[in-house]
Every structure is written in C-alpha cells, then in structure tokens.
C-alpha cells in the first residue's frame, strides 16, 4: 500500500511569513533589530537582583506552590554585572518574574532555572510580560487537560487535597467540571476557541442542554460563545408542562414527549415530587433558566427570582421550613 507524504500547506506557509514580518515591525518599534537570544541556565538566587523588591509581596499560595514544586516557568533575566554569563561572580537583573524569584527565596530555594537574555530594554520586558500573560491566560485550558489526565488515569485526589497543594478552590471546581464534560464538548474546549467566560456560561446549562449542545458539535456546528449563549436563552414550547409537584404527573393533552429544557426529572422522578428544600430550589432555578427574556415573562421572572432568594436564605436557617423536614435535615439537607 502506497502512503502519500503530507503536502505542505501553502496557506500556512504564507500566514507564517506574514507573522514573521509583523514580528520584525514590532521588534523595530522596541528598538531591537533581532529578538535577543536567550539561554536556559541554572542560577543561584543570591545572584539575582529583583528591581523594586520592596514593593512586591508573593502570595502565601505562590510560596507554598514553589516550595512543593519549584518554579515551573523560569523567570527572564539579563546580565547586570560581571564579565559574561558564565562568570561565577556575575549578577543578573530579573526583567520578568520578580514575584516568582522572591517567592523562591521565601520558600527556601537556593537556585532556579532562568532564561538569560543577552540584552534587554524596558520595552522588551513589557512585551515579554504580555507574551507570558497571554500564555498564562490560556493556561486554564492546560489545567483542564491535566485534570482530565488525572481522571482518566484514575488518580484519586479530592478537591481538598488539591487545595492543600495550593490550588484555588473556586477555579479548581470550575476546571474539574470542564474536565468531566462529554468527549465532544471537552475536545472543543481544548481547541481553545471558547473563552473562559463562555466556558463558565456552559457550566450553567442543564444536562439536557449540554446533551443537545454535544449533538450540535458532533454534527459539525462550531463551538462558539454565541452558540453557548443561545442555548442559555433556548425557547420553550408554548403551553407549559404541569410542574411535577402533584403525584399524578399529568401533562397537557397533545404535548410532545420531549422534555422541556428546564425540567430535569425522569419519569421515575415525576412520581415523587421534590419534597426537600434543595430540590425545590433546584427546580425553581431550572424554571428560571428556561424562561424567555421579555415583557411577557417579566413579572414571572421577578417573582421567581424573589422566591428563590427567600428560599436560599431560609435554607441557611436552623428552623425547618417544610412539614417533611426534621431539625436534623436542615442546613445540610
């Protein structure tokens, strides 16, 4: 069987050439003829000078993370004093990564890898910072990927254990939810076309909406923020299903069997209406999400929101609210 060699994509070559030209223009504005070369070297922290160190305080979380794992992203430095970079008495000024260097000292580290640039200007320091920030802003996707790897490898770690390692609990919970998405949606998140804001919106979709979104992506629909936002404002059928609070679970004659977006109950659940405060709150939240924005639903939306807030406050109370509740079930039920 003959295998064809991959043919270079001529469009990609042209695009890359245009990017190089733009980079040259940018470097010229920075007063740089060519991007200064840099080597990766391990340097003693005692030989690093941190400009403005008195104005910077690394967070305890950063120090803890460095103590456990070291500096994962080498700071950028430039020769400050000494004959050359290999001079054992040479000192280096930190042009980017000052907080990491100070954090390493507080963590008791003695040396660290650095990207040593042969020259630097303030403009170069700024552009390095922008590049690093852009890479960092895309780091959330990398973290989702890493978490998915842990899940696939069946590494059992609780959220509390990860927090103890220095992860922020709120952002970790969000990334974990993304890591557990169905394959098609997970792959779309990794593609990087979705902003973090849009990914957070996706977490507000119900399970049926996520399923619908997955089907759309599988059928070739590109995953965009507009698509996710549109799902949040999905239309409901005229004529609401009866709320599944009566034991009969009746529906209006002529209704289709497709469930409304805001109902998440299965047929079995319809026979047992929600009787706990959290389940009633969840039902109301689903109902609120399914309401079309507009004048016709203005009053319903206001009343639903007000009732939800009152119930959420009441759920923190030590007194039972429902006749079905016992004092032991409140607060944590």
């Amino acid at each position: 069987m003959q295998h064809n060699l991959p043919v270079p994509d001529q469009h990609e070559d042209a695009a890359e050439q245009r990017r190089d030209e733009k980079l040259q223009v940018l470097l010229a504005r920075l007063g740089i003829d060519v991007f200064p070369s840099h080597d990766t070297r391990t340097l003693s922290l005692d030989h690093l000078i941190v400009p403005g160190a008195s104005q910077i305080t690394p967070s305890p979380r950063l120090v803890k993370s460095i103590r456990l794992f070291g500096i994962l992203q080498p700071p950028s430095v430039v020769l400050h004093a000494g004959q050359d970079e290999i001079d054992p008495d040479a000192t280096f000024a930190v042009i980017f990564g000052r907080r990491r260097v100070l954090g390493a000292r507080l963590a008791g580290r003695v040396e660290t890898k650095c990207e040593v640039y042969e020259s630097a200007t303030p403009q170069l320091a700024a552009i390095l910072g922008l590049i690093e920030n852009e890479q960092r802003s895309a780091a959330w996707i990398r973290e989702v990927q890493d978490l998915r790897g842990l899940i696939d490898d069946r590494v059992g770690m609780t959220v509390d254990e990860l927090v103890a390692f220095g992860f922020d609990r709120t952002s970790l919970t969000f990334r974990l939810k993304l890591a557990q998405l169905p394959e098609a949606l997970y792959t779309a998140v990794l593609a990087g076309t979705l902003s973090q804001v849009a990914a957070k919106k996706m977490m507000r979709l119900t399970s049926s909406q996520l399923h619908h979104l997955e089907e759309m992506v599988l059928s070739g629909e590109p995953m965009t923020e507009a698509l996710v936002t549109g799902m949040l404002h999905v239309q409901v059928n005229a004529g609401l299903h009866a709320l599944p609070l009566d034991s009969g679970g009746t529906t209006l004659e002529g209704e289709t069997s497709q469930r409304e977006p805001w109902t998440t109950n299965t047929a079995a659940e319809d026979a047992h209406p929600p009787s706990t405060l959290p389940s009633i709150i969840a039902l109301l939240q689903g109902f609120e999400r399914g309401l079309l924005p507009g004048a016709a639903t203005h009053t319903v939306r206001l009343l639903t929101k007000a009732l939800l807030q009152e119930l959420e406050v009441a759920s923190r109370s030590t007194s039972p609210l429902l006749t079905t509740q016992t004092p032991e079930e409140v607060c944590y039920g």
Binding site: Q55, I56, T57, S59, P60, N133, R136, V163, R169, T170, T299, L302, L303, K305, A306, Q309, E312, V313, R316, S317, T318, C331, Y332
Partner: protein, 290 residues
C-alpha cells in the same frame, strides 16, 4: 487558610467590585447566626461628630470601650483582646443613600449575599482582628416619628413594645374567639423599630408594584442583585434620621485581582503583616477575580 466564610460575588447596589480594591467582608455560612442577631433595633444615634460628612467613603477605626456603669463616663475602659494589652478596634462604615437609598436595601442584600465594603488601602488594616466588628450607619435608619405612626407589620427581632402579637377588640379583649375574659393590657409602642423602615418605603420605588385594589399591598423592590418584598403603609418617611443599624462580625478581607492576576500590593502587605503580628487573632484574606 482558605476555609472561611466569604460573600457571594454578585453585582450589588453599589455595583461590581473594583479590580485592585480591598474589601472587608462579613461572609455567609451554614450554621452561622441569622442576620437579625447582628441588627441593632432600635437603631442607635451616631457617635458625636460621626455623620455622613465625616464617614462617607472614609471608614474610621474606633477603639472599643466599655463602662462598668453605663451612666458614669469615668468608668469607661478600653476593651482588650483576651489575655493581651492590645485594644480591640472596630470600624465605622457609612452606608450612603446614593447606592442604598433605604436601609432595608442594604439589610436585604447582606441577608442574601453577605456584607462587602470597599476600604481605603491607606487605612491601617493591621489594627483589625477577628474580634473587630463592622459598625454600620445609614442616613435613614432611625425613625423619629414612631410615636405618631402605626407599629410595624413585623419586628424580626421580636422586641417587646415594637409590635403587637395579639389583635384586640375595642374593649381590649382578644378577638381570637377564645373564652378568655381576662382583660389584656392595650399594646403600647415603646420606641422606634428598625423594621418600620421597610413599611415606610413608598409604592413608587417598587420594581413590581401591587395590584391596584390590594388593601394590604405587597411590593417587590430590586436593588443590585437583591429582590425583596415590603408592605408600604403610605406613612411619612420624613422622620428617618441617621443611625447605627447593624454591628457585623468580620470574616476576612477580599483582594480583587487586576486582569493580570495582581492585587493591591500595599493593602496585601498590610494584611500579611497583620496576619504575622496577630497570629490566632488575625483576619484571613483571599484573592478573587470579582
């Protein structure tokens, strides 16, 4: 030290939290005390010299004192942290009417989302500890016309003399149809009630007004992310004056991040220094996007 009560990061009556800002919080938790435990009813008049002009956007630190004889100023002493010679310092915060026209607006927001107030980073945050309290004042908290007005619909602190709990006939006997023939003392209001402020809200400020023929109207009012109900009586709100209406515990500081993840380093340094100095008494802090 990440597990402590925090507020809910929603848009509030005063808007969204500012990147680079430092906020003092009274966060929410299951198992905590209900908000009523920290409301001051009746509201107290502001300390001398502490009006809106002095306090608006300028929270002030206030050394806590106590008197063994409330009537004798010479018995006043500074209150210290247990087992130390370090005074407890509280913080006086003015809740302006610009963003919270009515004291009920702020109370209901705190009830749902916790309290979060921006501080000047130049304030000496090192003086605040877990023993410190947020003393909150509002320009329209203390009702001076209470004696001329009906009692409130409800007093959530159930203060004696604020609202009657039994309806009486004209003869002073209970109208619940019971056989009790013992005369019940007529209800006498004893002073202003914080919760009367809810009843004094006009119908015109409701987001969702009541039905036109409703004899006992129920209105919904929206402020920031908060929606709450009130029953207007149509009585005059002219008698509302400044007062201390709440004394909240402080659960920590929130440092709001800039887009690049940095926070106000000056404020953070003070907080970190306080955590080192005060150890077990220190207030925790956290960094957040909003």
């Amino acid at each position: 030290m990440d597990d402590f009560p925090k507020t809910t990061p929603v848009p509030r009556g005063c808007g969204e939290r500012t990147p680079g800002g430092v906020y003092i919080e009274c966060g929410l938790s299951r198992g905590g005390s209900p908000l009523e435990a920290f409301l001051v009813d009746p509201p107290l008049p502001p300390p001398p010299g502490m009006s809106g002009d002095a306090l608006a956007n300028k929270a002030q630190l206030w050394v806590r004192t106590s008197r063994s004889d409330p009537q004798d100023p010479t018995t006043e002493r500074v209150v210290m942290h247990p087992g130390t010679e370090i005074p407890i310092v509280d913080i006086l915060i003015w809740i302006g009417a610009q963003h919270y026209p009515y004291v009920s607006d702020f109370i209901e927001e705190v009830r749902r989302f916790g309290a979060s107030r921006k501080l000047n980073p130049n304030l000496d945050l090192t003086q605040l500890t877990r023993y410190s309290r947020m003393i909150l004042l509002h320009p329209h908290a203390l009702n001076t016309l209470w004696a001329e007005q009906r009692p409130p619909h409800a007093c959530l602190k159930e203060r004696a003399g604020h609202t009657q709990s039994v309806s009486l006939t004209e003869t002073g006997f209970p109208s619940d149809g019971s056989d009790n023939t013992e005369p019940v003392l007529p209800f006498v209001q004893t002073g202003p009630c914080l919760f009367k402020c809810y009843d004094l809200l006009p119908v015109s400020v409701a987001t969702l007004p009541p039905a036109p023929d409703d004899e006992s109207p129920l209105c919904l009012r929206e402020i920031g992310s908060t929606l709450y109900s009130y029953q207007p009586t149509g009585e005059s709100a002219e008698g509302l004056t400044p007062g201390i209406f709440a004394i909240l515990p402080i659960t920590g500081f929130a440092l709001i991040q800039y887009p690049d993840g940095r926070v106000n380093e000056q404020a953070k340094a003070k907080i970190v220094r306080a955590q080192t100095d005060h150890e077990a008494f220190a207030l925790p802090s956290y960094e957040t996007e909003k």
